[in-house]
């Protein structure tokens, strides 16, 4: 008989570890730990680790060919929704097949085996779970509120069909990448560098490079609206304490898409009616609230396999193509005389499968109509309308024109993560409205667009920032005819400029202007100041033909709060309707470049 203590010594002096005792049924000890759920936990840990590693590697000195946006490219909702909005599949988005095919075979395995956000929710729910068995079973029963995710998915896909891609608001990968980029990783860096600073003052000089997500910068990174992105994830993750896997069950549009697809799955959880005693213990750890104790909801099941572990009767298996057996039952269930293939039924609940999401047809229709009206409501906002988008909606170099940008950007903020100068910021409602919330815009009070850098275009998974070789950005070699990519144009505010308005020398702007010849020239003039001193002033002016809108002048301008030289989006080359100067070299191309613009 096995000793219940973890370590015991028998009368012969032999040490026994409880961990290595055989099971009661005689099976060896490792049958306890080599369960399918253990494999699942290992898989979740691996994918979560890979997810964090790839975000860690999304930095200038670490890129080295890693597929840093892999999880976004694996996301079938990203691939499908951008295909709906653009009628194309960009670059690496075919990788979604790696998730699509397993889903068609096995159901929503992604949700509980790969998805890092699902792992986060499950882990938090596990750690902070204070419920007993009875309450766990109650918390894991299906609720009608779980329909909501299908309705949200419908709204998003209808909007995508019109050219407004909003899946990124709630898609779990986009949401988690964004939260890491904007809130979690900067917070971690803040803590690490603060600790390192304290150690350093104590005389301990640690090299923290590997611990920092963004090493080699002299000022801590800042992100517009980090508080909201950060508190949102705290709230969503915190909801696990109220309803387990709240986000996954109620909100996740990717889960909804995979749920719809899982009707085709060849494998599913199967309950043996001749063994099941209707004890409901399979619900104790059911992540998806998929009713394994009755008619399994294939669309809700995360394939977490906890029910296999929790079933005391061994009635549950993960089986290939099990058939609903209702019409094979003979006899009276209520009278207890029913048999299945001659074996008496124990379960009183004969249903075994429900293939499609439990959403009434009129609700699908309502959601579609919701998407239909949401599109014009959002697009009529001036911030994202071709007739007047915001002067500070300055998009990263290589971005496609605004209507196409809104078809592609999933607000994952990988570009913002990789940006070495921190100039890329998640847009607030001000620059890009609700439709463009969290899309990348440049804020030159924070950073500037570095001349020789094209990293944002490298990591963008959807081509909202089109892959842009450096030669194309700079307008060199075969791109010489097109000229450089301009993201805007700089203007001087002479009323705030030190040499123009304050008899004080300066021209930091000219010094840092990275193009050659420089886009900032000076009128040099020696004047007699108010106090009688002779002073030579180099009064700067713009040469707009040369300016690419990189904003380093604005960033370095000593008039910090409201810079005396500032960039706005006019003159950006991504849209022929946004030019500033008459360009005689482009006259011949007008016909091929102009296209009908949607409102």
């Amino acid at each position: 008989m096995a000793d219940p203590r973890p370590i015991s010594v028998d009368k012969d002096g032999r040490v026994h570890l409880a961990a290595f005792q055989p099971n009661r049924d005689g099976s060896p000890w490792y049958a306890r730990s080599l369960r399918i759920t253990t494999v699942r936990v290992i898989s979740q840990a691996f994918f979560f680790g890979l997810f964090v590693f790839l975000l860690w590697a999304t930095w200038f000195s670490r890129l080295g060919g890693y597929p840093v946006s892999l999880f976004l490219e694996l996301d079938p909702l990203v691939g499908f929704a951008t295909a709906v909005s653009t009628h194309t599949v960009y670059r690496w988005l075919w990788r979604a097949l790696f998730v699509l095919v397993p889903t068609l075979l096995l159901g929503r395995v992604f949700c509980n085996w790969m998805c890092p956000y699902g792992t986060l929710h499950q882990f938090v729910g596990f750690i902070f779970n204070i419920r007993g068995n009875r309450d766990n079973i109650r918390a894991n029963r299906y609720r009608s509120a779980f329909q909501l995710k299908y309705l949200l998915l419908t709204v998003f896909l209808v909007m995508a069909a019109f050219g407004s891609l909003q899946i990124g608001l709630l898609d779990p990968i986009c949401l988690l990448v964004r939260t890491f980029a904007v809130a979690i990783m900067p917070a971690s860096d803040l803590a690490v560098s603060d600790l390192a600073g304290r150690m350093q003052r104590q005389g301990v000089d640690l090299d923290t490079t590997a611990l920092l997500f963004s090493p080699g910068i002299s000022e801590a990174r800042v992100f517009a609206g980090a508080w909201f992105v950060g508190l949102l994830i705290v709230g969503l993750v915190g909801m696990n304490l109220v309803i387990p896997r709240f986000f996954c069950r109620v909100l996740c549009p990717l889960g909804a898409m995979l749920g719809v697809l899982s009707r085709f799955a060849m494998f599913r959880i199967d309950r043996d009616l001749t063994k099941c005693t209707d004890c409901d213990l399979c619900l104790k750890g059911c992540e998806g609230a998929a009713d394994p104790q009755a008619a399994l909801r294939k669309s809700e099941c995360f394939v977490c396999m906890n029910c296999l572990d929790d079933c005391p009767e061994g009635a549950i298996s993960f089986a290939r193509a099990p058939l609903p057996v209702l019409d094979r039952i003979q006899g009276e269930i209520r009278a207890g005389t029913a048999t299945l293939f001659g074996i008496p039924l124990k379960s009183r609940i004969p249903d075994t499968e429900r293939m499609v999401p439990d959403v009434p047809r009129r609700r699908w229709l309502f959601a579609s109509l919701g998407g239909l009206v949401a599109f014009p409501f959002l697009r009529l906002s001036k911030a994202v309308n071709a007739r007047g988008f915001h002067e500070k909606a300055i998009r990263p170099p290589g971005s496609v024109a605004e209507p196409e940008f809104l078809e592609r950007c999933i607000k994952c903020d990988q570009c913002i993560n990789v940006c070495p100068t921190n100039v890329l910021q998640p847009s607030t409602l001000e620059q890009a409205g609700l439709e463009g919330l969290w899309t990348p815009v440049m804020d030159f009070s924070v950073g500037f667009c570095q001349l020789n850098c094209t990293l944002c275009s490298e990591v963008c998974p959807t081509g909202a920032i089109q892959k842009t070789p450096l030669a194309r950005k700079l307008g060199l070699d075969e791109y010489a005819d097109q000229g450089p990519v301009r993201v805007g144009t700089a203007f001087f505010n002479r009323g705030r400029c030190l040499p123009w308005a304050m008899e004080t020398p300066c021209v930091v702007c000219e010094e840092v202007c990275p193009v050659t010849p420089k886009a900032i020239g000076t009128y040099d003039e020696t004047i007699t100041r108010w106090d009688g001193q002779q002073v030579t002033l180099n009064r700067p002016y713009m040469r707009p033909e040369l300016c690419i809108g990189c904003g380093i002048c604005e960033h370095e301008c000593p008039v910090l709060d409201d810079a005396a030289v500032y960039v706005t989006a006019i003159g950006e080359t991504r849209d022929d309707g946004r030019t500033l100067l008459l360009d005689t070299t482009k006259q011949a191309n007008v016909e091929t470049n102009s296209k009908v613009r949607r409102p």
């Binding site: 560098s193 600073g197 350093q200 090493p215 910068i217 020398p505 000219e510 050659t516």
Partner: protein
């Protein structure tokens, strides 16, 4: 009175005394912390709000800087011309007394190249990686315990170090690269400086350092005329350094006071003669085939101005006179001992 009641009263008296002790103890602690004069231990009292203000760490560089006694016989200005960069660096340093005069076994040496912009080396906006690499090897051959390469660039530091080739050159030659981090800056006190008596300084690489060597390219500068070995120290400043353009010549003179290096190298392998300090086109660069070593950065810079930038017609920029007036160097380099060598 029953036994029960007695027991209850005893218990309640004990309970009362316990509570009273908590009340008294917490009140006394709070009262002490809030009311005890600031000089008392554990006092938190801040009568006028001054005590609560942050006190940033302050530092000083060693008295007299990192200079060593001048070599009795060697030249003040060593000029090496040629094609082989390794030989030029060695010859220039040999001319001013040889590396063994400046660096001894066990020294911790900070080398400050100019890595201000993300530019490839041939564009002349940054120190030539081959010069840096040769200098590190030279310093290590003299027995230095540790060689640190540090700069606080204007553009993204990692990108600047990599694109310029200086990261790879420094690491391959056996130095450690210090990129700036938010906590690496301290307030440096430079008594006698006009503008930077107290200023944020990239302090971390200097902790424990015993020698400092500057190695800068020779390049045009839109505002101060030319950026060479003296202006190079600007890259160690943090904070609102973009205000210094309002009095650029004074700040450069201050920089000469702030860092008194062991020696400096002026990398004239190529010269960015216009569109500085950023450049960006090979058309702005001309070959110089020269490396200059000196313990006097003003002399090295004056040589650069006249002989490399070839601006003999123009007067020296204002910062030369300002620094000279404070006894920080000799712009009239022809009055010093010169040694010019030609190597392969």
């Amino acid at each position: 009175m029953t036994d029960d009641q007695t027991a209850y009263r005893r218990a309640s008296r004990r309970r009362f005394l316990g509570q009273a002790a908590w009340v008294a103890g917490l009140s006394a602690t709070a009262g002490y912390a809030a009311l005890a004069p600031p000089r008392f231990p554990l006092s938190l009292r801040d009568p006028d709000g001054e005590r609560g203000k942050p006190k940033p760490a302050r530092m000083r560089l060693p008295e007299g800087g990192y200079a060593v006694d001048p070599h009795p016989t060697a030249a003040h200005l060593g000029i090496a011309r040629g094609q082989n960069i390794g030989k030029m660096v060695r010859a220039a340093v040999d001319a001013i007394g040889g590396i063994a005069h400046f660096v001894q076994k066990g020294d911790v040496v900070v080398i400050k190249p100019n890595v201000a912009f993300e530019r490839a080396a041939p564009l002349g906006a940054t120190t030539d990686p081959a010069v840096l690499s040769a200098l590190i090897s030279l310093v290590r051959s003299a027995g230095a315990r540790e060689v640190r390469v540090a700069d606080n660039p204007i553009e993204a530091p990692e990108a600047c170090f990599v694109r310029s080739g200086l990261q790879q050159a420094a690491v391959a030659a056996g130095a450690r690269v210090y990129l700036p981090a938010p906590n690496d800056f301290q307030i440096l006190q430079t008594p006698g400086a006009s503008l930077i008596e107290h200023w944020e300084f990239f302090a971390r690489p200097f902790i424990g350092a015993t020698k400092v060597i500057g190695v800068s390219p020779c390049k045009d500068h839109n505002l101060c005329g030319a950026s060479m070995t003296t202006k190079n120290w600007y890259g160690l400043l943090g904070g609102r350094r973009n205000q210094f353009h309002q009095d650029i010549h004074t700040i450069i003179a201050d920089l000469a006071l702030m860092v008194r290096p062991t020696f400096v190298l002026l990398d004239g392998v190529r010269v960015l003669y216009r569109s500085g300090p950023t450049g960006g086109s090979l058309a702005d660069v001309k070959p110089g085939h020269t490396v200059v070593a000196s313990t006097d950065s003003l002399a090295a810079d004056a040589f650069g101005w006249q002989m490399l930038l070839e601006r003999t017609e123009q007067p020296l920029p204002g910062y030369f006179q300002k620094a000279h007036n404070r006894g920080l160097g000799e712009p009239e380099f022809r009055t010093l001992r010169l040694k010019e060598v030609r190597v392969g």
